[in-house]
């Protein structure tokens, strides 16, 4: 009898699966993206609903997008670079214009993002904004009597060997602001040299330049680092899971902001699936998905309002356009990219 039950059970299962099958197998999507942006929690329902199979390849930094696409091969259908790294992809023709009329909730996305230079070129739109946040700073409250509020803490000799900075050209943005140069994306040669000097002066105090989220978490976990910059919401949540308390703060000198958009790789054979993915990404499923998995703020506040609790909505600054406006949103450096990278390499070569 029990066996019979099992049999009928599996037969029923098979029947359900079989009836569900005809809707499936519409295409495959290869997504080059950040960890968490293709989390099973919202990708599996998407695959079940659309039949588009998603395979994600993860990048460690924005530097990975252009070289991977430049190497060619037609491997990827979607990429998700940050706003400062989109320009080379557009200029090189690696990504194709997006028909915003096919994106149902396009108009709900923050105007600031929709109109940003990073995804607009010669009258066409090239990206669908997805998530955003601050490059905030964080520290271990058990190691500070008075909470740090200024970037000066990162140059405090008393913290020698306890400081970490992201191994990225953004270190120059931090140093420039510490120098009082607020226009961090348009530094003159002198200001860039001053930022470089500032970082060279800081280097003996630095324990390690962190190069991945996991590494920064390890550095805090093993007690090596007490203060650093961070991707707001992400590493602090990972550390909280490990039982290590850290406090994020936006220093007096302000912080940079980042925004990631999904872009369609030129000539993809899976355009329909790509558009379905984009629609999912900025609907409740994708927006609350990334907010819950990565702790990032999202680009579509309307979808966020529908699927977030009030506390989460407020905590992610979705109700606070001023916060977003206060951040120094990353910009493409264009021809100056080489000079910035060079300056940062020179710091590490010193």
């Amino acid at each position: 009898m029990r066996r019979l039950n099992k049999l009928t059970g599996s037969a029923a299962c098979a029947a359900i699966v079989l009836t569900a099958l005809p809707a499936l197998a519409e295409g495959e999507l290869n997504v080059l993206t950040w960890e968490g942006y293709a989390d099973p929690s919202f990708i599996e329902p998407f695959e079940a609903a659309t039949g588009c199979k998603v395979s994600a390849t993860y990048v460690g930094s924005n530097d990975d997008f252009a070289p991977k696409l430049a190497a060619g091969g037609g491997v990827f259908d979607l990429v998700s670079p940050s706003i400062d790294s989109t320009a080379p992809l557009i200029a090189a023709g690696f990504v194709q214009p997006i028909d915003t009329s096919r994106i149902d909730e396009w108009d709900n996305i923050y105007e600031k993002f929709r109109a940003s230079d990073g995804i607009n070129a010669s009258g066409e739109v090239y990206g669908v904004p997805y998530a955003w946040g601050a490059i905030s700073f964080m520290y271990r409250p058990d190691k500070f009597d008075t909470p740090p509020t200024s970037l000066a803490a990162l140059w405090d000799p008393a913290l020698e060997g306890r400081i970490s900075l992201w191994d990225d050209k953004s270190a120059l943005y931090v140093a420039a602001r510490a120098n009082g140069d607020a226009d961090i994306y348009n530094l003159t040669d002198e200001q860039l040299a001053a930022a470089q000097e500032k970082l060279i002066a800081q280097r003996p105090l630095v324990r390690k330049y962190w190069s991945s989220a996991g590494e920064l978490v390890d550095l805090y976990k093993s007690g090596e680092v007490w203060i650093s910059n961070t991707w707001a919401g992400y590493q602090s949540a990972l550390l909280a899971e490990e039982g290590i308390e850290v406090v994020e703060f936006i220093p007096d000198e302000n912080a940079e902001g980042w925004m990631d958009s999904f872009m369609i790789v030129s000539g993809t054979p899976n355009e329909d699936c790509a558009y379905q993915f984009l629609n999912m990404a900025i609907s409740e499923a994708g927006q609350c998905g990334v907010a819950n998995v990565n702790g990032y703020s999202v680009a579509n506040p309307e979808a966020a309002r529908r699927c977030m609790s009030e506390e989460q909505f407020a905590a992610l600054h979705q109700d606070d356009p001023e916060y977003l406006d206060s951040l120094l949103l990353w910009e493409n450096l264009g021809p100056r990219l080489g000079d910035y990278t060079n300056a940062w390499n020179a710091v590490k070569a010193q």
Partner: protein, 291 residues
């Protein structure tokens, strides 16, 4: 008749040789040619434009950061090779001359070689957990009372890089030295003793010269492998750990300057080839002197 035979022979020769030849052309010469071509191009937003100019090379030789990183890389590779030699030679000597049981000898030899089967990344990562502030070394030193509080001097600096690289590449030093020592006929050493030379003189005048090809080969391999390393600076290096391979990676990635990256890669290639040629000469010189 003979013509047909030699023709067939040539065909056979060609068939036997063609896979490795094809491989070399496809995966060695073609990529290097592309690299050479790229190194004369000019970086221009978004990527690069074809050109024939020496700007990339001029930049490498005028901007002091590249010389600095190259010197640092050479220093670290040199220290790694030296440390590996100082550890590997006595070990190989002990294996070749002092261990009598073949089974034990094999076991001890494999103890050095076996780690090669474990992922390089994993082995380098292990050193992080050993050298860290809350790592094994600190726990040990504190439990034995040598330290009263954990020290952070072991990890995230050049010493940690040298230690890690030495550990990772020491098999490449042990293997050739052991092979060279093993080939030394025992009667040479006995003859030296019979002729009244002491142990030290025998070692200096017989063993070391005859082991020299192994030493040179081991030194060259360890040096070149360390010279091109870019994982240890990321894993255990500190803010002053940048090596030349990291700079090249940054040019291809962050800076999107493939021409400069190619030029740097070629400069590095020339240095490494130079070292291999020099060691080859050195070895042949030694050989000639011996015979």
């Amino acid at each position: 008749m003979t013509l047909a035979l030699s023709k067939r022979n040539r065909l056979r020769q060609f068939l036997v040789l063609s896979p490795p030849l094809l491989w070399t052309v496809l995966f060695m010469f073609a990529p290097y040619t592309i690299l050479v071509v790229y190194s004369f191009w000019r970086a221009q937003f978004p990527l690069a434009v074809p050109d024939f100019q020496f700007g990339n090379y001029i930049e490498i030789f005028t901007d002091p950061q590249y010389a600095r990183v190259l010197l640092r890389t050479a220093k670290i590779a040199g220290l790694v090779s030296l440390l590996a030699l100082l550890l590997a030679f006595p070990y190989a000597y002990f294996l070749a001359f002092k261990v009598r049981k073949p089974g034990l000898r094999l076991t001890l030899y494999m103890a050095v070689v076996a780690p090669l089967w474990v992922s390089y990344l994993l082995r380098a990562y292990t050193w992080k957990t050993i050298l860290g502030t809350e790592g094994l070394l600190n726990s040990f030193l504190m439990s034995t009372g040598i330290l009263s509080e954990p020290s952070s001097v072991f990890l995230y600096n050049q010493t940690a890089m040298v230690v890690t690289l030495t550990y990772v590449f020491i098999p490449f030093m042990v293997m050739p030295i052991y092979a060279a020592l093993e080939k030394i006929p025992p009667n040479l050493i006995e003859a030296s003793g019979d002729l009244g030379e002491g142990a030290i003189a025998t070692f200096a005048r017989i063993t070391v010269p005859l082991a020299m090809p192994g030493i040179v080969a081991g030194f060259t391999m360890t040096f070149c492998l360390s010279f091109g390393d870019f994982i240890s600076p990321i894993l255990v290096g500190g803010p002053d750990g940048l090596m030349i391979a990291n700079v090249i990676a940054a040019q291809f990635g962050a800076a999107l300057n493939w021409p400069l990256g190619s030029a740097l890669a070629l400069v590095m290639l020339v240095i490494v080839l130079g070292i291999i040629t020099a060691s080859d000469r050195f070895e042949r010189l030694g050989q000639a002197r011996l015979s």
